[in-house]
Symmetry: C2
């Protein structure tokens, strides 16, 4: 093997895509702390603290609130494989890529899957869930994405939670792009199982997936008659490692847990309400700027996700070329469209450390520049003024 490998030296990026987003230097320092064994009493205490902090951001008292050893999709799979047994009837709400993924996983679990669909860019209506449950004669669970990263839609949950309860179905919520950036009240909203990722509004490197299950969901887990199809994600065993027993299951990703604990401390220092307000403010400024530039948001007003802002790419503009320009000339990363929106949208993440006034202003100027390069008459000056107006209100 003759090839030479240089020093790792990643050029600095402003990360305004769908994640990972920027990480505090405090978190980067934490993950580079010296290693501990995964059963070391010191590490066990760090685990306890991490669980406490996770309960705070999930707004839950759930005992089983832990980071799974994988990225967000591992959290999705964890909840599904643990709660579903072959033949179970489940309702999956699909309005974007991550709803599709939920449906795919439910199918791999051997479930009888009933899809409830909304057009991409729109939320699911509660009555659709009721109709599906009514005509199916109930279901074991209803799974829905709170913050659809592929469309920028924020899905209201409270009404759907009540309907799920009427039919005695568990409510499973994907909070990958909402946890820590958008209001989410697991206990108050009656969410039975919820999962997220670390590299979004928690501003931590990717690699862990926080999950929380309430006692009702744990009871379903306890009553299984078949083994969970994944050994790696089997909560019946993993809860004994994170619980009092400290029973060895697999080696926890020590340094990632260090990082998560630090990232969660930062969330707690800012406070959830202040953090939600910051995300909302920066998103509002971006939206006003985007609209003043002559562009359109994908999600309708009232259903826009502050953490992930999906913008229509105007006709005649090559969205990938614009992203390349942003990366090369400004060092800014934004996301392209996924699925139905491939080639037709930009996805601008304003999450955690990346949700900043400076970046909103800079991005509006840079995106305007990218559009002008392609001959689109972007009104950059009005765009910046509109954003400033939001901040100075």
């Amino acid at each position: 093997m003759e090839k030479e490998f240089g020093q790792l030296n990643p050029e600095y990026r402003i990360l305004l895509g769908p994640g990972p987003v920027e990480t505090s230097p405090r978190v980067l320092r934490a993950i580079s702390s010296n290693m501990l064994g995964h059963l070391d009493p010191q590490f066990l205490e760090i685990m306890n603290e991490t669980m406490d902090l996770l309960r705070y951001v999930f707004q839950t008292e759930n005992q089983l609130t832990i980071p799974m050893s994988g990225t967000g999709s591992a959290g999705m799979e964890t909840v599904m494989v643990n709660l579903i047994e072959p033949g179970d009837r489940v309702v999956v709400c699909v309005k974007g890529v991550f709803g599709q993924r939920l449906r795919d996983i439910a199918g791999r679990c051997g479930a009888e899957v009933i899809s409830v669909e909304a057009p991409w860019g729109k939320p699911i209506q509660p009555e659709q869930v009721r109709d599906a449950l009514e005509s199916a004669g109930g279901a074991k669970l209803v799974a829905i994405v709170h913050a659809e990263t592929s469309t920028g839609v924020l899905q209201p949950l409270e009404e759907i939670s009540k309907i799920a309860k009427e039919y005695d179905a568990l409510l499973v919520v994907d909070a990958v792009t909402s946890l820590g950036g958008v209001e989410l009240k697991v206990d108050e909203w009656g969410i039975d199982a919820c999962y997220s990722g670390t590299q979004k509004a928690l501003s931590c490197p990717p690699g862990l997936s926080p999950v929380t299950l309430n006692d009702k969901a744990r009871k379903v887990l306890g009553n299984r008659t078949t083994k969970v199809q994944s050994w790696y994600l089997d909560l019946t065993m993993i809860q004994n490692y994170w619980g009092k027993e400290r029973f060895y299951h697999h080696t926890a990703p020590i340094n990632m847990v260090y990082g998560l604990r630090e990232a969660l401390m930062i969330v707690r220092e800012e406070g959830l309400e202040a953090r939600y307000a910051r995300h909302k403010l920066n998103s509002n400024a971006l939206i006003k700027g985007i609209e003043a530039m002559g562009l359109q948001m994908i999600a309708p007003e009232g259903y826009r996700l502050p953490t992930l802002n999906a913008v229509k790419a105007p006709d005649g503009v090559d969205e990938a070329k614009a992203r390349k320009f942003l990366l090369e000339k400004y060092g800014i990363e934004i996301g392209g469209g996924l699925g139905d929106f491939k080639g037709k949208a930009w996805r601008i993440g304003l999450m955690g450390e990346s949700s900043r006034r400076n970046y909103v202003i800079l991005l509006l100027a840079a995106l305007g520049d990218a559009l002008i390069q392609q001959g689109y008459k972007a009104n950059v000056g009005s765009s910046i003024e509109a954003a400033l107006e939001v901040y100075n209100k």
Copy 2:
């Protein structure tokens, strides 16, 4: 939430357990590098380099050689769920905890599992594998652990590989505790699929699991008639992210990949042969010291794993109490027995950065001290002399 959380400040440990082991400061610096997007051209290059370096340590030309986004057990599950379809007949060799885990996972995949067993602390005999394949009329695959972390046994593989080929069965090898510390030649030995972990002889933090599949194994994957039961670990999709297509699947754990690349560069700078020799030397010195102290190794000579040295706890000695003493008085972590050896053994890892002369000498003195505390007449002086003799030969 009123509880106060202090600065993360883990006390320094000498990590001589079954892993995680110590990590080079270079690796810790690498993982704290600034974040990149998971589709950033810079990160794609880092992925390419990491795959190249993994091919070097696996001693393979396999195109599909990637780190899965989970710890070692996720690698085990990856290989099994991708290669097995419900109803497939598979032979699983069981001689410790990790063979049991393989069998458990094979069962969860719906396989018809044929166990080949050896007593804990002994290797599997090639003829046992032949007999199993012969009486079953062949099997889709034979799965075996190269380095059984629960017993310290190094399993010879070349003969078993030939037998698997005679019966046209794939050979699946668990190299979690051997990769980078013990000779392992994936291509030359005819291993069709192999997986490992990062926190053992590669001396990287836990969180990734390198896997490699040859074209024969990939063909089996391509010929599946059912979906892989795990979405998160589905190689048919993941290979399109790590391959030329760069197709989004899940967000790779960016910083862990930084760390793995750096850890692999360190392995390459030392060179595999020199690295194997270092592991062997330190293990030999430890073994001589252990025996001179009056203790016994679990694995028979010729089958001892240099990376993981399993030692019988003498009658009348409380092994857990001895470990607690080592941790509290010396800051040294060693492992206890697992499964059949629970309460009866110590497992001493000398892997990667933890495989050092200084630690061998210190551990022998400290373990002797721990034994003397419990009234066992450990011959500490002879033990140290025996170890020095190995180094000075």
